[in-house]
């Protein structure tokens, strides 16, 4: 915890990724950027770039196709970072649970720090979740973090060695 760690809570940059949900959550995320809720007041920005983001906001029940993309996004984000799972699908699959093409929630792929319940959560709930994510983020260190079941095999499959 140095001098610069105090400024973390002032500028959380969000990376938003939809892993195959119905886009209801995504509409709420964009609503919270719009004039009425305006989360840029608190310095939060929606960056489309994992390399410059701090909070990974995941919606949807991770489908088999975007499983590896989600892992890569997680690995590309520099620490300290937090993962927020938003909506019922992100928690355990929601209405898609136990279908042939889903992984039943974000926590099976990457470790999740904050859960935002609801289908779809209201913007107030989203802002509340972000605030809680910032509290966890402030305590984190710069140590490297990995997805679940991370090993050499996955490293090869994701192609992160070539970068």
């Amino acid at each position: 915890m140095g001098f610069f760690s105090k400024f973390r809570k002032k500028s959380p940059w969000i990376l938003h990724y939809n892993t195959g949900g119905c886009n209801g959550c995504d509409i709420e995320i964009l609503a919270s950027l719009a004039p009425k809720y305006d989360i840029e007041r608190f310095g939060a920005l929606n960056r489309g770039n994992p390399k410059q983001a701090d909070i990974l906001l995941v919606t949807g029940p991770v489908t088999k196709n975007c499983k590896d993309v989600l892992r890569r996004l997680y690995l590309e984000m520099p620490e300290p970072k937090v993962v927020v799972a938003m909506g019922a699908c992100g928690h355990g699959g929601g209405v898609f649970r136990h279908l042939y093409h889903v992984e039943n929630g974000v926590d099976n792929i990457i470790p999740v720090d904050v859960w935002i319940p609801g289908c779809a959560p209201r913007p107030e709930a989203l802002i509340d979740g972000i605030v809680e994510a910032i509290e966890i983020w402030e305590k984190k260190s710069k140590e490297k973090e990995y997805p679940r079941n991370y090993d050499e095999e996955m490293r090869k499959n994701l192609g992160v060695d070539d970068d």
Binding site: G48, K51, P78
Partner: protein
């Protein structure tokens, strides 16, 4: 003394301009917007991130962009020569282009190519602008321009008009933000920078603000109040243009620059040369 202070505190001053711009942009969209010191909060936060680099040349070129941009501004102030400062600015942008084209990311390479298109569009205008000042004052020294008794903005109206339409190309604003298209190629040349290295690229942009608005200030001549009014007008105009227009194709940008703006400036310069 004031010149040394201006050069030393150029990034800090630029940060304030950027913070003010973010507030202005938010108010134009009827939002409240971030606090004035928000760019500095971002700066300190990025300082605290784990440094991840693609390869060392890429990271070095990001830092070079910041250093060269600051150096270009120092040359503008201490070197007493507008023309040389314009060429040093080319070098600074070139560092960004080299860095961006040295990685495998397609977005980064595409952004680097578009950044070159930006340079093709605005550098001739910058050179013609300094020639315009030379025709008025017979000197490339900015002090002679700031001691010039007339009103450069009234004698070079078309040059000023062309220059404020060039600023969106230099500062990556809509409608000419083709290199940094945030929804399309997510930042372009800066996409692969992260943590402290992104910070260098981020801060270099603040110095670019000071660099550009200094040129606007020169249009006031020895009337400093006019210079300040022009800077405020340009700031509001640029933000209004940024908020109300959509992004154009890069071909349209180059065409607009070479078919419309450069002939306009040339006309003004020919008239000034004939009149003198």
């Amino acid at each position: 003394m004031i010149e040394t202070m201006l050069v030393l505190f150029a990034p800090i001053l630029g940060g304030f301009v950027y913070g003010l711009e973010r507030i202005t942009r938010a108010r134009m969209q009827s939002r409240i917007g971030p606090p004035l010191l928000q760019p500095f909060y971002d700066f300190f936060k990025l300082m605290d991130k784990r440094p991840m680099m693609v390869h060392s040349l890429h990271a070095l070129m990001g830092i070079m962009y910041f250093v060269a941009e600051w150096f270009a501004f120092a040359v503008l102030i201490f070197g007493n020569d507008l023309l040389i400062a314009v060429f040093f600015h080319v070098l600074a942008v070139l560092a960004l282009v080299i860095g961006a084209s040295s990685v495998r990311s397609a977005y980064s390479v595409l952004g680097a190519l578009r950044e070159l298109m930006h340079m093709i569009s605005y550098e001739p205008i910058m050179v013609l602008l300094t020639i315009g000042f030379f025709l008025l004052t017979n000197s490339f020294n900015y002090r002679d321009i700031l001691n010039y008794e007339g009103y450069p903005v009234l004698e070079l109206p078309l040059v000023f008009f062309a220059f404020i339409l060039t600023i969106p190309m230099m500062l990556q604003k809509s409608p000419f933000d083709v290199a940094e298209a945030h929804q399309e190629i997510i930042g372009g040349p800066e996409i692969e920078y992260s943590g402290p290295f992104y910070e260098a690229v981020y801060t270099a942009k603040w110095i670019e603000y000071i660099y550009v608005f200094f040129f606007v200030f020169l249009f006031g001549g020895s009337h400093y109040w006019l210079g300040i009014l022009l800077v405020i007008f340009t700031f509001i105009f640029i933000n209004l243009l940024d908020n109300s227009t959509a992004r154009l194709d890069f071909r349209k940008m180059v065409k607009f620059s070479w078919v419309f703006l450069i002939p306009l400036i040339t006309l003004n310069l020919v008239l000034i040369a004939l009149w003198r």
